[in-house]
């Protein structure tokens, strides 16, 4: 008998294969009955399933479903179509399925398993995978079912299409005894340096960055029939903040690569000079992802198949209404009443989620921007083309236009933050009486002080779970990604008051702008990237706080992006440690530190110890947290966001007094010059299976 959790895990395996054949590395078979056959195998499915049963190591019997779900909407999506939550038609399908999966009573897991098998057999694999993941995440009884690393189940969304032909060869030949040599993915495969934007490819196309974005939207879907799935604490504000931080990080990387900050996409009639050729294939649709050539222009969309019929003029109207709300500080509700605008509401309006107070008036500015960008090549479905990478959460961050669009979105939020409706922080909101930082520094594991060292690492990912219809056994793909030497923050604090708690907030920002001039605080505040945030007790008197870079509240551990594939990593106790769901969401540890330059780039390290009385939230007992790794960007499951301050505090709004960062510093803050230096070498990840 196979544990039901293990059975559920197997539903992630080889998502494009039918359920008739064995799943997982252990040759485990689901024993299907007539109920679980789709049209393709109506005649011979049972026979084939039985034949596999003779060879299977384990067999999972399925409980018959007393009532089969209709999936009236979801069935309309063909098995070989692309799926995107940005499309209204697809969103409705997903809502239907998620609702069905969530409505199985708690602790009836055999029913849930059968329902999921039925859904997997009958629905589009990507649609199923999304709904299944959301359901596992939001059901109480499936908390310990890990969401599989999406890059392993749908590897084609994350890596060069050329890998797959080689992977098939490797799987076929290795099955006969050849060594499993990793397939090397070149670092530069989407463009050359002739295209200046390509300098940022290591960031845009990073597997961990894209996984983060995908996972974030899995945790925060913007629609669902069960409102509590969407209505999480401060989700609108988190939408703003998480994306603001992405833009800040991206802009920092651009400066490191001698490029100016990204230009927001504000004039929607203007051609888009950035082209993008993703060179990804979809294993579900057997199509290449459509590229975008340079200088294409947004077109009115009329694609009945996607439920899209919107014009650029509609977008402009929504934009005017949003800008009106920002300028007046008042949001109009659908029922005609008004409410004062706050950042959380504005986030829900712009994204928009079903929490928007007036979707009719404010539209769905952010989501539709993705759709417009994704369909420039075929706005009326004349060429039967699917969307580009811009419309898929797992691929959209690859495209330079993602950042141009989110720079526009961020600018709307920033204009609200800069408006008279948001008050600047008073001194009492910033200070922490009695607490004085006497020094703060970073110490790199390689010995240097106030220097962070970055370098390139090659890590392996096992593709075999996503390689449908090929021989079993691991197939490794080897990526090159940015990495940094681990380091620690050391902060000396003098506490003249009583022992108390404090929140330590650590940010960094480049010291100079693209003209190599020092920043005005009004600009630099948008460049500060959060590195860590944690609560610690302060003793009276002198304190020295030491914090490891790997403990960051922004990131998830390295092993969650790149599973430990070495011998030790196969120890089951090890894998359990990293299997909690929320942990999948979070900025990848290897991208914590910006690239810097070989000559060394000057950064400001900013450390603040804020007044915990103003920070604390009343969360029920924190000890039940199964996973806290990346609360800054992802919040906490079923809990309040663990910091009462506005997200991004203290840099989320302009200062009424300080002109630059030096002016801003109070005794409970500290600024330190640091250098980020790139060592242009590539090292092997010690956890790779072979070297």
């Amino acid at each position: 008998m196979v544990d039901v959790v293990d059975s559920l895990k197997l539903l992630f395996d080889r998502p494009n294969e039918p359920m008739l054949s064995p799943k997982g590395d252990d040759n485990t078979l689901f024993q299907l009955t007539e109920q679980f056959l789709n049209e393709d195998y109506m005649n011979n499915g049972i026979e084939i399933n039985n034949r596999y049963g003779e060879m299977a190591n384990k067999v999972i019997p399925l409980k018959e479903l007393s009532q089969l779900p209709q999936f009236n909407l979801a069935r309309r999506l063909p098995a070989d179509a692309e799926f995107s939550t940005f499309l209204p038609a697809h969103q409705e399908m997903a809502d239907e399925v998620i609702d069905e999966l969530l409505s199985v009573p708690e602790n009836q897991l055999q029913d849930f398993l059968s329902l999921c098998v039925y859904a997997r057999v009958n629905l589009n694999p990507q649609l199923f995978n999304y709904c299944y993941s959301v359901a596992l995440m939001h059901r109480k009884d499936t908390k310990n079912v890990p969401i599989q690393n999406f890059a392993e189940t749908f590897p084609s969304k994350f890596m060069d299409s050329q890998v797959f032909a080689q992977a098939r060869e490797s799987a076929a030949v290795s099955a006969q005894g050849a060594p499993r040599v990793p397939i090397i993915i070149p670092r530069d495969y989407t463009a050359t340096d002739l295209d200046v934007e390509h300098r940022l490819a290591y960031f845009r196309e990073d597997i961990g960055v894209n996984l983060h974005h995908w996972h974030w939207h899995l945790v925060y879907p913007f629609s669902a029939r069960q409102r509590q799935v969407v209505d999480k604490d401060r989700r609108g504000e988190l939408f703003f903040y998480m994306h603001q931080q992405i833009i800040a990080r991206y802009n920092g990387e651009r400066l490191n690569n001698a490029l100016a900050r990204v230009k927001k996409f504000s004039n929607w009639d203007e051609p888009i000079p950035e082209g993008y050729f993703p060179k990804l294939d979809s294993l579900t649709t057997s199509r290449g992802w459509p590229p975008r050539q340079a200088n294409m222009v947004w077109q009115n969309l009329n694609r009945p198949i996607d439920g899209l019929n919107i014009t650029v003029a509609d977008m402009q109207r929504w934009r005017r209404n949003v800008e009106e709300a920002i300028a007046t500080g008042i949001a109009q509700r659908a029922d005609g009443t008004t409410q004062a605008l706050d950042i959380d509401t504005l986030g829900n309006i712009i994204e928009s989620s079903i929490l928007s107070p007036n979707p009719q008036l404010y539209g769905a500015l952010h989501n539709n921007g993705h759709s417009f960008a994704a369909y420039m090549h075929d706005p009326t479905h004349r060429y039967l083309e699917s969307f580009s990478v811009m419309a898929d959460e797992a691929t959209t961050m690859r495209d330079p236009f993602f950042y141009r669009w989110h720079a526009f979105v961020d600018d709307l939020f920033q204009r609200f933050k800069e408006s008279t409706h948001v008050r600047s922080y008073t001194r009492s909101e910033l200070e922490n009486p009695g607490v004085q930082i006497t020094s703060a520094r970073v110490e790199s594991s390689t010995g240097g002080q106030n220097t962070l060292n970055t370098f390139w690492t090659q890590s392996d990912v096992d593709l075999s779970r996503g390689l449908d219809f090929s021989n079993r056994g691991p197939v490794y793909a080897r990526f090159t990604h940015l990495n940094h030497r681990p380091f620690q923050y050391v902060i000396d604090v003098n506490n003249t008051g009583n022992a108390r708690r404090t929140t330590v907030r650590i940010f960094i920002a480049p010291k100079f702008d693209e003209r190599n001039l020092p920043w005005a605080l009004s600009d630099q505040r948008k460049m500060f990237i959060e590195m860590d945030k944690f609560v610690i007790p302060l003793n009276a008197g002198q304190n020295t706080i030491v914090r490891q870079s790997t403990q960051s509240s922004v990131t998830i551990p390295f092993e969650q992006t790149f599973r430990n594939l070495s011998q030790q990593g196969n120890d089951p106790r090890q894998t359990d440690l990293t299997s909690f769901n929320y942990c999948g969401c979070g900025w990848p540890q290897h991208m914590l530190v910006p690239k810097g330059t070989e000559a060394g780039t000057q950064y400001d390290l900013f450390v603040m110890l804020s007044n915990y009385d103003l920070d604390s939230v009343n969360n029920p007992d924190g000890s039940t947290l199964s996973c806290v790794e990346a609360s800054s960007f992802c919040g906490l499951k079923d809990k309040l966001y663990p910091d009462r301050r506005s997200m991004g505090y203290p840099f989320d709004r302009p200062s009424s007094t300080a002109a630059n960062i030096q002016d801003f510093i109070l005794p409970n803050m500290f600024r330190q010059d640091i250098t980020i230096r790139l060592q242009n070498v590539t090292e092997q990840n010690p956890k790779n299976p072979t070297n």
Binding site: S161, A165, E169, V173, Q176, P179, S286, G288, Y383
Partner: protein
């Protein structure tokens, strides 16, 4: 042009070396057993699977240890044993000293390969040279087994095909159809995912053919989609690919290029494609193709091929509507050329036609005469290495393909490969192919228009009178029927790294009911004569529904058949089957007939069954017509065989599609200008005005029925 000059000296040297040295050795080695010759065909099976894996149904190559690629070297004996266990037939491979392969090795294994790219031509030239230079079939097998695992599969296949077609000791060995080796160039990749599923999950006996979708590249809201069935037809694209295989424009061995009247055939075959495409468009309420004559203006038609390259593992790049060609600078392909260069070449052609003479490299003028002028122009235009002055007239036709196929990434900044226009197996899918060739054809017509009309004595055949031509079809006189038909193609050979076993796919194509031509002839000369019967067809009405002028109509004349016939004195009725057309190859050559193949699918026997791949696919002989019936005129002429004939021996060569393809190793079998009698302007104002007594016309109707039948259910 820098590139066209750079490649040449090297080629000439290689070819000399071969040609002084090797013919003698061919003679001493022609007695190879058939088995070892046909083993070569195994290299066409599953092109990206290394050849130490099973090839064909039962065979395995036993490789010398040093032939294994580095990544498999350490386990070569394990692999040999494991794969050897399952094989029934083990083919020992001779360990030979390897020639220098560094040039062809420069093309990465996973790249696209195109003859339009000068650097690729150079690499292919070298590899063909190596294959041609192998002493005997065993050595060729050795070098192939070494190369198959290392060289770019497209290039390897092309070069091996050319070598097999042109080596003495491989004559009669027929290469398998390209669509089965590389099905990815011909059909929607969704089929392959399903084929993988079927071959993994479903036992061999239970497999149903997969259905290849039709109309998957655009919706009906794109007017161009109405002729997608023509552009994306597997047979038509195979024809074009095969034509360029038989007539490469570049090769180390000049004799491979310099075939009888190849320049003229280049003109004529493409002229006929345009005429046929125009007729299809008229049947579908579209105008004739608009010439692509302004290189500076955007190309309205977009094209999204939705093909995946199995070797490059990349989707073929689309061309968005409104793209403009741009100056190219792609060092990796050794192409640097400006759009203005195309215009300069074009102007030189116009000048040559204006003055009816071409400039030679030494500055002298060579007149373009009535008989060979078109051949000279064709070679200049294509251009092939037998162009009389490539330095001056450049490479207009090829570079047009190159410019269009790189319009999305002219400077290689996005590391993109060429679009479908860059590959002769896929170019005909793209609407722009026809606009480009309509323009090329127009330039040829400018030349033809300078020639004097045929005088009556060059048209007439005294004593011979054709009193009527008619169509005898299944549903009545002078009525042609068309409809959709589904045929099957075998995918098993092209599905690399999946379990063995046949996987059939079913695709839909146009088909017509077979019919007979009935021609009544009267020979009043009193003695037996020989005549050449020439049958053409053309639309009657233009896109506005008005009568076509004869000058327009003659350019739309589609050749249907041409054959030699004895004309005994007196009256005679000639009956000729549509199946015997000199233009087409039978269905079985385009898609091997699954029922009649000898031996099992994929076996060497079946691959060899009579295959001559070049020729218009028979199922596309007749334009689609319309539901209500599309009016056309069928024209028949019998010309004097004594003035047409070319004396040569045709035994043993495949000659049933000679009109568009010529005959292998022979002269073009008709002494007249290609397209005769419609290749020249005429003062005649209508077709009846044009006719001499040895001609007849009949108005006929093509009726299309929007239904699909399975192949074999003629009805």
């Amino acid at each position: 042009m820098a590139f066209s000059l750079t490649g040449q000296p090297a080629f000439i040297e290689f070819s000399r070396a071969n040609f002084f040295f090797f013919p003698l050795q061919y003679l001493s080695n022609t007695k190879m057993s058939d088995q070892s010759r046909s083993n070569l065909l195994l290299f066409f099976d599953r092109p990206t699977e290394p050849c130490f894996m099973q090839k064909g149904d039962d065979a395995i190559f036993q490789l010398p240890d040093n032939f294994y690629p580095d990544k498999y070297k350490t386990v070569s004996s394990t692999l040999a044993n494991r794969f050897g266990e399952n094989a029934q037939r083990s083919i020992p491979v001779r360990n030979i000293a390897l020639p220098d392969l560094s040039l062809p090795m420069e093309l990465p294994y996973n790249d696209q390969f195109s003859l339009f790219v000068p650097k690729h031509r150079k690499m292919a030239g070298k590899l063909i040279d190596i294959f041609m230079g192998m002493r005997d079939v065993d050595d060729l097998q050795s070098i192939c087994s070494y190369c198959q695992m290392r060289l770019n599969p497209y290039m390897f296949n092309y070069c091996l095909s050319v070598a097999i077609l042109h080596r003495e000791d491989t004559k009669g060995l027929n290469i398998p159809t390209f669509a089965e080796t590389f099905p990815d160039k011909f059909m929607d990749p969704k089929v392959f995912r399903r084929a993988r599923e079927v071959s993994t999950i479903v036992p061999v006996g239970n497999r149903l053919p997969l259905v290849i979708p039709q109309n998957y590249t655009a919706a009906d809201s794109d007017p161009e989609q109405r002729v997608a069935y023509f552009r994306e037809d597997i047979g038509i694209n195979l024809h074009h690919w095969h034509w360029h295989l038989v007539y490469p424009f570049d090769a180390a061995d000049r004799a491979i290029v310099n075939k009888d009247r190849r320049g003229e055939l280049f003109y004529y075959m493409h002229q006929q494609i345009i005429a046929r495409y125009s007729a299809e468009r008229l049947c579908n309420n579209l105008g004739r193709p608009k010439r692509y004559n302004d290189f500076r203006s955007p190309i309205e038609e977009g094209y999204f091929p939705k093909l995946d390259s199995q070797v490059a593992s990349r989707a073929w790049p689309p061309r968005f509507a409104g793209s403009t060609i741009r100056d190219i600078d792609r060092p990796i392909d050794q192409i640097r050329s400006d759009v203005s260069q195309l215009e300069i070449w074009r102007d030189r052609f116009l000048q040559a036609i204006e003055t009816m003479s071409v400039t030679l490299p030494n500055g002298r003028q060579m007149p373009l005469d009535e008989e060979t002028g078109i051949d000279v122009l064709g070679n200049l235009m294509e251009s092939s290495i037998i162009s009389r002055n490539r330095g001056y007239y450049g490479d207009l036709h090829n570079m047009g393909h190159v410019f269009i196929s790189y319009s999305h990434d002219p400077d290689h900044r996005n590391l993109e490969q060429f679009g479908v226009m860059g590959d002769s197996a896929t170019a005909m899918r793209d609407p722009i192919f026809y606009r480009w060739h309509a323009y090329i054809d127009d330039i040829f017509q400018l030349y033809k228009n300078k020639l004097p009309p045929y005088p009556a004595e060059r048209l007439d055949f005294p004593g011979i009178r054709v009193s009527s031509i008619g169509i005898e079809g299944s549903s009545g006189a002078n009525l042609l029927n068309t409809q959709w038909e589904q045929s099957t193609v075998e995918l098993g050979r092209g599905l690399d790294f999946t379990p063995r076993g046949s996987v059939l796919a079913r695709f839909t194509h146009l088909q017509h009911d077979e019919f007979n031509y009935v021609i009544d002839v009267n020979n009043s000369s009193g003695s037996d004569m020989m005549g050449t019967v020439r049958i053409f067809m053309a639309p009657i009405l233009d896109e506005g529904g008005n009568q076509l002028s004869f000058d327009e109509q003659r350019r739309l004349m589609i050749e249907l058949d041409k054959f030699t016939e004895a004309l005994p004195a007196g009256t005679r009725t000639i009956r000729r089957r549509s199946l015997d057309s000199s233009v087409t190859i039978p269905y079985e050559r385009t898609f091997r007939n699954q029922n009649t193949r000898p031996g099992d699918p994929g076996s060497a026997q079946s691959a060899e069954f009579d295959f001559c791949g070049c020729g218009w696919p028979h199922h596309m002989l007749i334009p689609k017509g319309t539901d209500r019936g599309y009016p056309i005129v069928v024209f028949c002429m019998i010309s004097n065989w004594n003035e047409d004939r070319v004396i040569q021996d045709l035994v043993g060569s495949c000659n049933d599609a000679a009109s568009y393809c010529g005959i292998r190793d022979r002269k073009y079998p008709d002494r007249r200008s290609m397209g005769y009698p419609f290749d020249r302007p005429t003062p005649a104002s209508s077709i009846t005005d044009f006719m001499t007594p040895n001609m007849a016309v009949q108005q006929c109707t093509i009726r299309f029925t929007n239904a699909t039948r399975q192949r074999g259910q003629q009805g």
